[in-house]
């Protein structure tokens, strides 16, 4: 074996420590693959995607995207005959795609102008428009094209045990947190009527007007709606190829009929589509995910659905395995909005192991705002999420509200304090308990109510007889009992407000205002939709602005404190044994060290940021000085609160030319006469980490420098988080010190204390 080969071998055997650590990171638990168009594994640009084109004759589309009508599949026919606005197709197709892309970004072009043109665009044309855009431009477009001016969010509420009291409590909390819609589903299909009832009662306890749904098989879903237990449905899946559509056991016509069936019972409908589903089903027909999604969206529009949940939804990990996948998902949200569809923009299924990657992706929808930022924010912990786990869950509530507060962006979740949450949860569980008692369902015990009020997950709930619940749910579904019986039961048991809210949901169903695009209810059952809350964005100062009462509410997170009493611990009465005696003079004693303190030291402030007594700190410093056989002089600097200036002045006054300069918050420097103010012998900026032992060592080192020695600098453990935790306190302590700054010469202090050495 040659030497070169040996070297190569040993190099490949020994791993880089850094690369080993990187390999263990969350981001490297995901799968990344190259594009493969033939397998449908390409997000926005497949060489097999058709080019835009359209030919009309006798008021009928004869050719679309390079395909003759004779070769149209069912989806092509549906799009051509139901979705395209033939009055505008010629103009739209003749307008250069890059021009429409620019209109999306141009603040001078209002939403309706683009919406009109988009109505005449074929699937390939829609793709050609958004392909020209980077994510920033897409976000600009999304902010303008979003159907409802006011953004909102949707929650998922489920639990593994199907515990009704916990479902009601979690729904109440989610409603109180501001979610405009709450969706549940089942682990066991037969639990559906009870789960739907539990989140309905919970949601209306938390906040009247929250729309709710239970994701189950269509026939059952419709029955729940008719009974008044749900008010919307969104699991009507559509696909971008005929074969995957048929594999999903539907056609555009069957889905459109179903949409009308739901609407006929007063139930809001949203379709579901998204990048990757066709590839996952094996029928992508070599096309890009974006092109297939454009077809889905036109089918959705053609069917008359008011909206769609897209953004890949449960397939999200597939586009994210590919280059540009997150951009493609944003592109499909934008397409939905361009077409006038309410968009619940994904951010629901678990998309990454990496918190950084999840958050980065979220920004694409959160910052522009969508009709529902998440098509299901898991308002419960992951283990209770029967949709397969959420990308963001109950443990991320505070992260979310802080991000909203940071950016002054409304992501549809309100801050909530613990007492309000527990009270609403308890009331919801009690309301459901009352209904169960009145309607003869298996009783909800007091201990279940109390556990639900304070629970985090179903692990915190007592056991419950699920078999009995399922049998009762069957009977409830089969009986004539309906929303009105639930309302009456609540009323009889004294839950008037919950009863009134439930009844109001029924009354609103009679009016049907929430069937309009992107409709939700604000507080007080005031409907907001694309009809009366139209997105009028035309640049800065227009469109939705987070301001006024809503901004006040979103910034008021329970963790927020008043800064006014932040430094109460440091404020006190002047130290009785630290007296000012005369203006300080330049010392002549080569064995003296000056300890120069800031204007507030021992006067208005009496403790360091680490809450060490100023008196004890002075004692420690002077003890260190004395240990080296030196004498310590204490001087107060008045003209500056700056640590460098205090140390510099001290050194000028020191007989040895060495001084310790110290601010009231404890930041310390060892300074030598003649050095520039911002140069020094040793600097201790991390005042919260300084201990009395360290101050004593600082005193010792100061004296050693004065002796002409070269001591080992005092070691202070670096605490990376100190500045992060204490910056507000630091600011306020410094502000207090600067208040004591005066145009006055340094003063000699008498410190009544003798070192014990």
């Amino acid at each position: 074996m040659s030497t070169a080969a040996t070297t190569a071998e040993s190099t490949s055997d020994a791993r880089s420590r850094r690369f080993s650590i990187l390999a263990e990171r969350d981001i490297n638990r995901e799968t990344y693959v190259e594009e493969w168009a033939e397998a449908g594994l390409t997000v926005t640009d497949s060489p097999y995607d058709p080019l835009p084109g359209l030919h009309i004759a006798d008021g009928q589309v004869m050719e679309m995207d390079g395909k003759n009508r004779a070769h149209f599949d069912a989806l092509d026919l549906f799009i051509a005959d139901q979705a395209l606005d033939l009055s505008v197709v010629e103009e739209a197709m003749a307008t250069p795609s890059h021009q429409i892309a620019r209109m999306l970004v141009d603040i001078n072009v209002p939403q309706p102008a683009i919406r009109r043109l988009a109505g005449g665009c074929t699937p390939a044309k829609l793709c050609e428009i958004v392909r020209q855009m980077n994510v920033l431009e897409m976000m600009m477009g999304l902010g303008k094209m979003r159907v409802r001016k006011t953004p909102a969010n949707q929650a998922h509420v489920t639990n593994w045990r199907e515990n009704p009291a916990l479902l009601a409590a979690d729904a109440a909390e989610a409603a109180l947190r501001g979610f405009a819609e709450i969706e549940t589903t089942v682990r066991v299909a037969r639990a559906a009527p009870f789960n739907a009832l539990a989140i309905l009662v919970g949601a209306q306890t938390g906040r009247g007007g929250v729309l709710t749904q239970c994701a189950v098989e269509e026939a059952l879903g419709l029955r729940l709606g008719i009974k008044g237990l749900t008010s919307y449905a969104e699991t009507l899946s559509v696909y971008g190829t005929e074969k995957s559509f048929v594999d999903g056991d539907d056609t555009p016509w069957s889905k459109a009929f179903l949409a009308s069936a739901y609407a006929s019972r007063g139930i809001k409908v949203r379709f579901t589509s998204g990048a990757g589903s066709e590839a996952l089903m094996g029928y992508a027909e070599q096309c890009s995910m974006l092109y297939l999604e454009a077809r889905c969206l036109l089918a959705t529009k053609g069917a008359g659905s008011q909206g769609v949940q897209n953004g890949s939804i449960s397939c999200i990990a597939l586009p994210e395995a590919l280059p540009g996948g997150v951009r493609a998902v944003l592109a499909e949200n934008l397409l939905a909005s361009m077409l006038g569809l309410e968009c619940a923009s994904g951010n629901d299924a678990l998309a990454s192991h990496s918190a950084l990657r999840k958050t980065a992706k979220l920004m694409l929808q959160l910052i522009p705002g969508t009709d529902f930022i998440c098509s299901g924010y898991s308002a419960i912990p992951k283990q209770d999420n029967m949709f397969g786990g959420g990308n963001f869950d109950a443990e991320d509530f505070d992260d979310w509200t802080v991000i909203q507060r940071d950016m002054q962006v409304n992501g549809g979740i309100r801050p909530l304090n613990e007492a309000d949450a527990v009270a609403a949860r308890r009331k919801a569980a009690q309301a459901l308990q009352a209904i169960y008692a009145e309607l003869g369902f298996p009783p909800i015990r007091e201990e279940e109510v109390e556990a639900a009020a304070r629970a985090h997950s179903s692990d915190d709930m007592p056991e419950r007889d699920m078999v009995a619940d399922l049998a009762a749910a069957d009977r409830f579904l089969g009986s004539a009992a309906n929303l009105a019986d639930v309302v009456a039961a609540l009323h009889r048991r004294g839950f008037e407000q919950v009863a009134a809210n439930l009844l109001e949901m029924g009354r609103q169903r009679v009016a049907g205002d929430y069937l309009q695009p992107a409709a939700i209810f604000e507080d007080g059952f005031s409907v907001l939709s694309g009809i009366n809350d139209t997105n009028d964005y035309t640049g800065p100062g227009s469109g939705y602005r987070l301001e006024g009462e809503t901004w006040d509410a979103l910034q008021r997170i329970p963790q927020q404190k008043s800064p006014r009493d932040f430094i109460d611990a440091q404020i006190g009465d002047p130290l009785p044994n630290l007296a000012e005696i005369s203006p300080a003079r330049v010392g002549a004693n080569p064995n003296e060290i000056v300890v120069a303190v800031g204007p507030a030291y021992g006067r208005s402030l009496v403790k360091t940021i680490g809450e060490l007594d100023h008196e004890a700190v002075l004692e420690a410093l002077l003890t260190g000085v004395a240990q080296e056989g030196f004498y310590g002089r204490v001087v107060r600097v008045y003209h500056s609160a700056d640590c460098a200036a205090i140390g510099h002045t001290g050194a000028r006054l020191s007989g040895s030319g060495i001084a310790v300069g110290m601010q009231s918050r404890g930041t310390t420097v060892i300074q030598k006469r003649g050095l520039a103010p911002l140069n020094n012998l040793e600097l201790f900026p991390q005042s919260p980490s300084l201990t009395l032992e360290i101050y004593q060592a600082i005193g010792r080192n100061a004296a050693r420098y004065a002796k002409g020695l070269a001591p080992l600098p005092v070691g202070v453990k670096v605490d990376n988080g100190a500045r992060l935790r204490l910056i507000v306190k630091t600011t306020l302590l410094h502000r207090r010190e600067t208040e004591d700054v005066q145009e006055k010469a340094p003063q000699e202090l008498y410190f009544r204390w003798e070192p014990d050495v």
Binding site: D73, E218, K227, E242, S264, V487, A499, R509, D513, I531
Partner: protein, 140 residues
Amino acid sequence: MTNNKNGDYPLYANRIDSLRAASGRALHDLSLQATLTEEISSADYSISPQTLRAQAEVARSAGYPQLAQNLERAAELTAVPNETVLEMYEMLRPHRCSFEEYQELARRLREEFKAPTTASFIEEAGAVYQARGLLRTDRF
């Protein structure tokens, strides 16, 4: 918030006096008291075909013609009983029916349920299913 362009939307706020449920019950009579003292059926809190048509008109004037058509089909489907609606949906799923069965379904919608728009929609589906091989087959 309301402007003339939106007609009477929201109907709840602007037309509450004339709103009636599918059963004919006036919205005013759907009260908490009524739930205690009267038999309330699901038709008492179901939307009526008239209201669905009014909402269709709102959608059309706001530039949502397909949603308007959907709401018009929905208005027609209010006449179809729950179980029948589900049966019709099942019939429209791929490979369920013959061409003639779709024609029969359309006839029934037109004559029995006075649902001409939905009937035409079903006929269109039948024709596409025939052209695309989505009619019932005995292959499997």
